[in-house]
């Protein structure tokens, strides 16, 4: 029996993703956010159907300007209920949302707002342009006896059309915080895209470092953050500032500085290596140093002192993309440094550098094409964490007594390992979907890779219990196990689209898990382009005709120890 029109609002939600190859589970946090928003907007609600899986519009369809019928949204309607639908498109980058797609979203929303007690909410990163976007066409002309369409952006701004309905918009501040937590913001995006690369880096004449902070994938985010930082520390004076970068500056920093200077419409100059070439300072201009990495502070101190002596009016602050936590330059009376990100630099004097003693060559910061892990790095990673008994994965009797904790490893080194895995994936199957066991560590690794692939990388996690059950079962039996599960549905989509797939795991100890995963994929007629374990204890060229590309290989300890 339908509830009375004065009963609670029946809420249904859908999460729409653009450009991904397959649908993904919607996480609990996002569902809670939808419920919170619905309560703020209409007070009393019942969650009739919360999105479990994303609806996706693949890139091919976007390029071909075709879209599915509005039926892909699983919304239901009744004649009498008070209904609120949320179409959440906030997990996409606004730049990926074409005008045809926006128009489609708007027409979906109006379809479910045809009578007074129906409200459709569209969540978008930004409002489409009111001057030209066809998005507004179906919404703007909604008659007063129709339902209401509400459009919200990441700032929590709210546009309402159709039936006039009293709303108390949610607090912008809280909305923004929740939105950022789910979808990220420039600060988080920068953090996600910075890579602490591992190797043997020559950072100055006296020092080596085992790590190098690479901002090359985060130029856009860095440019945004530099812009924000400069305007916050310089205020209106930013417009009369000339930016300076030291002579030896990484190319990604130069790009970010050029972009920032362009947006501020201020010039930038490169500080010469040779003090004799220092140009004359302009009177009435204040200068601000922007530095890629302040490690010992020696270079920064030299150039800032040179500038001061040459009569440059320096700003109170300089800005560094990265700065070593143990570096303090304020005591020199030079401009204080505002760092975008403080890091542990772990530099070592050349005389004490183990890698120099082993005569290991320096790593090229810009052309590191060696995707695999060097032995030095692999063992550094494995010995920098406390080993414990294997706590998940194979059945209990098969587990190892001493096992590296991969969650901790990926927490510490995940960016670099993900970077290396991605180099391999780019080589064997660009744009591939990842299939991996449903285990915490490996999923953490996938999450590290996602921001680099413009958030379009999708993973299909296979539960351990399904891997075991499917073992030795024929294809139709595997399909029965998969029926009704999220992963089964994902594999079905991949199979229909003949998508490229790579199988990923943190460690291959005995081929067992790998073979279980390949067996399931075979039932769906999916032949992966590669199997990529981070550590491989069973070195080989291929497994069941799938090429193996591991980051590090060594013969199986499991066979020795059990």
């Amino acid at each position: 029996m339908p509830s009375s029109p004065r009963g609670p609002w029946q809420v249904e939600t859908e999460v729409v993703r653009v450009g991904t190859l397959v649908s993904e589970p919607v996480d609990e946090k996002r569902r809670k956010f939808h419920e919170w928003l619905a309560k703020r907007l209409v007070k009393t609600v019942t969650m009739r159907r919360a999105a479990q899986f994303t609806r996706y519009v693949p890139a091919d369809d976007i390029q071909n300007s075709v879209l599915p019928s509005t039926e892909i949204l699983g919304f239901t309607t009744s004649e009498t209920d008070r209904e609120l639908k949320i179409i959440d498109c906030s997990g996409n980058r606004y730049g990926d949302l074409g005008e045809n797609f926006l128009q489609w979203v708007a027409s979906c929303a109006t379809k479910f707002a045809t009578r007074a007690e129906q409200v459709s909410v569209i969540l978008l990163p930004s409002f489409p342009n009111t001057e030209f976007s066809p998005f507004w066409n179906p919404i703007i002309d909604l008659p007063a006896d129709s339902g209401t369409v509400i459009v919200m952006n990441k700032a929590g701004d709210l546009e309402r059309r159709g039936a006039p309905r009293q709303f108390e918009p949610p607090s912008r501040k809280i909305f923004q915080a929740k939105y950022r937590e789910l979808n990220g913001g420039p600060g988080q995006d920068f953090e996600d895209k910075v890579i602490r690369r591992i190797g043997h880096f020559n950072i100055s004449e006296q020092y080596c470092s085992h790590f190098f902070f690479d901002g090359s994938r985060a130029v856009a985010e860095l440019a945004d953050l530099l812009h924000e930082k400069i305007t916050s520390v310089a205020g209106k004076a930013a417009a009369r500032t000339t930016l300076i970068v030291p002579a030896r500056t990484d190319p990604w920093m130069e790009q970010a500085v050029t972009a920032t200077a362009g947006r501020l419409t201020v010039p930038w100059i490169k500080w010469p290596m040779d003090a004799a070439e220092i140009p004359r300072a302009n009177e009435g201009t204040s200068y601000m140093f922007l530095v890629d990495f302040i490690n010992t502070g020696a270079t920064y101190t030299t150039v800032a002192q040179q500038a001061r002596e040459a009569g440059y009016r320096l700003h109170r602050y300089s800005v560094a993309a990265f700065m070593s936590r143990d570096c303090h330059v304020e005591a020199n009376g030079l401009p204080a440094v505002q760092a975008i990100k403080q890091v542990a630099a772990e530099r070592v004097a050349r005389d004490h550098c183990d890698q120099c003693k082993l005569a290991l060559p320096h790593t090229d910061k810009y052309r590191d094409e060696f995707a695999e892990l060097r032995s030095y790095d692999a063992w550094h990673i494995l010995t920098s964490v406390g080993w414990d008994a294997e706590s998940y994965g194979p059945p209990v009797p098969k587990r190892l007594r001493h096992f590296p904790p991969f969650t901790e490893i990926f927490d510490k080194f995940g960016d670099c390992l993900a970077y290396k895995l991605e180099l391999i994936m780019q080589e064997v199957a660009p744009g591939a979907v990842i299939v991996c066991p449903e285990e915490p560590a490996v999923q953490m690794l996938v999450r590290r890779m996602q921001p680099w692939a413009e958030d379009r990388m999708v993973a299909v996690p296979l539960p351990r219990e399904a891997l075991t059950r499917a073992e030795g079962v024929n294809p139709s039996g595997v399909k029965r196990i998969a029926a009704g599960t999220g992963w089964g549905r994902q594999l079905d989509h991949l199979s229909q689209r003949q998508a490229r797939v790579v199988v990923l795991d943190e460690i291959n100890a005995s081929n067992e898990t790998a073979q279980q995963m390949l067996h399931i994929l075979k039932a769906f007629h999916i032949h992966p382009r590669a199997y990529t374990p981070v550590f491989n204890f069973v070195p080989a060229e291929q497994l069941d005709e799938v090429p193996i590309r591991a980051l590090y290989e060594l013969p199986s300890p499991r066979r020795v120890w059990t």
Partner: protein
């Protein structure tokens, strides 16, 4: 007469001093069938001013001729500034790409392309420490011609994805934000996306060329030109095929009040003004079909059901494109295809809220039709770079 036999082998076509969409191909389009069959020397000797769209029409000639095995030669301009522009914009590489099957039949006039310049074409100059985003983009050879050839679906998707990501790099955004009247991010999201998705949808195409350039327009001002050309079927013909199959070209409603005041040349429109909700039928002229192609909800493709799902073509792409170009950036849209050319600008008269008025100059040209489809947007810049 600018067409003459310079030797027994090559028929020289002396191109005019200014290369624009209208002027460049006009000369070639007037060639008789017999002359078209002979090896042609497209002589740029007298050229002093070029426009990217004009140069692109030459690419369409090269592509059309190479597909039928006709030899074409290009003689470089005498003006060193124009030669420099051709080199910097990678026009020679684009010419080689579009002539691909007949690469050897494309010959550069002797002694006009020094060897070091040919090397330079293959390897972009290293990035200098330039201080402005514009200069840096020029150093990195961002502007100029980029040609893609495609055979299969994934390649098509990657053409659009590659260009869209190229146009939203931080330096490009910084340049666009400071140079254009509005948010530079809309160029990648709307202009580049719609120009390219339109190009790859034309049946029969396998090459698409995108070019961009900053051109001074006098009195210290400049404009950013972006042209996209594909060698697919003429977009008018695709619509005509739909009409012949007794199919309505309207796939969705046009709930907008856009009106187009038509200025015609070489044909007679049925009305001085067209509204965006007008739907052409089989009595419509080619010029009317070209105009309707940009209307919202008009498409040559029917809705279709695949084994897995039903999909619907969307007809709002070119509509969003012209509105974005004209209304947001104050620019213009030009479409050259077949024997037709459309130039669309905003109407200077103040418009009422919700209504958008445009002036559409629609010309019917004579001679050989242009091979493929060429769409060009011109966006005024706030200041010369």
């Amino acid at each position: 007469m600018s067409v003459e036999a310079s030797s027994s082998e090559w028929l020289r076509v002396l191109l005019p001093g200014t290369i624009t969409t209208m002027a460049a191909a006009a000369q070639v389009s007037q060639l008789s069938d017999t002359n078209w069959q002979t090896p042609l020397d497209l002589d740029l000797a007298d050229v002093t001013r070029v426009d990217m769209a004009g140069l692109t029409t030459l690419l369409s000639v090269l592509n059309e001729r190479s597909a039928t095995g006709h030899e074409t030669r290009i003689s470089m301009p005498r003006d060193p500034a124009v030669t420099e522009l051709l080199l910097e914009s990678a026009f020679p590489s684009a010419a080689a790409m579009v002539s691909r099957p007949q690469f050897r039949s494309l010959i550069w006039g002797a002694d006009v392309l020094p060897i070091q310049d040919r090397v330079r074409l293959l390897r972009p100059s290293p990035s200098q420490p330039s201080s402005t985003a514009y200069q840096r983009l020029r150093d990195e050879r961002f502007f100029g011609f980029v040609t893609y050839s495609f055979q299969a679906e994934p390649q098509i998707a990657s053409v659009v994805a590659t260009e869209r990501s190229r146009w939203r790099g931080p330096l490009v955004l910084s340049f666009l934000d400071s140079a254009l009247a509005h948010d530079g991010a809309e160029i990648a999201r709307v202009v580049i996306h719609e120009l390219l998705t339109n190009a790859i949808l034309h049946p029969g195409g396998d090459v698409v060329t995108i070019s961009s350039w900053v051109t001074p327009t006098g009195s210290g001002r400049a404009e950013l030109t972006i042209s996209v050309w594909d060698n697919g079927d003429c977009m008018i013909r695709a619509l005509r095929t739909g009409l012949s199959a007794q199919r309505s070209l309207r796939v969705a409603d046009a709930v907008v009040d856009d009106t187009f005041a038509v200025e015609s040349s070489g044909w007679q429109p049925r009305s001085a003004k067209y509204a965006a909700n007008w739907t052409p039928d089989d009595t419509s002229t080619d010029e009317e079909l070209l105009l309707a192609a940009i209307f919202p909800g008009i498409s040559h493709r029917p809705a279709e059901a695949t084994p897995h799902r039903r999909v619907f073509p969307q007809g709002y792409g070119l509509h969003a494109l012209y509105r974005c170009v004209v209304d947001l950036f104050g620019g213009s849209l030009e479409i050259r295809t077949g024997r037709q050319q459309l130039n669309l600008v905003g109407n200077r008269l103040r418009r009422q809220r919700g209504t958008h008025r445009y002036r559409a100059h629609l010309a019917r040209l004579t001679g050989r039709p242009l091979h493929g489809n060429l769409l060009t947007v011109r966006l005024p810049m706030r200041h010369a770079q």
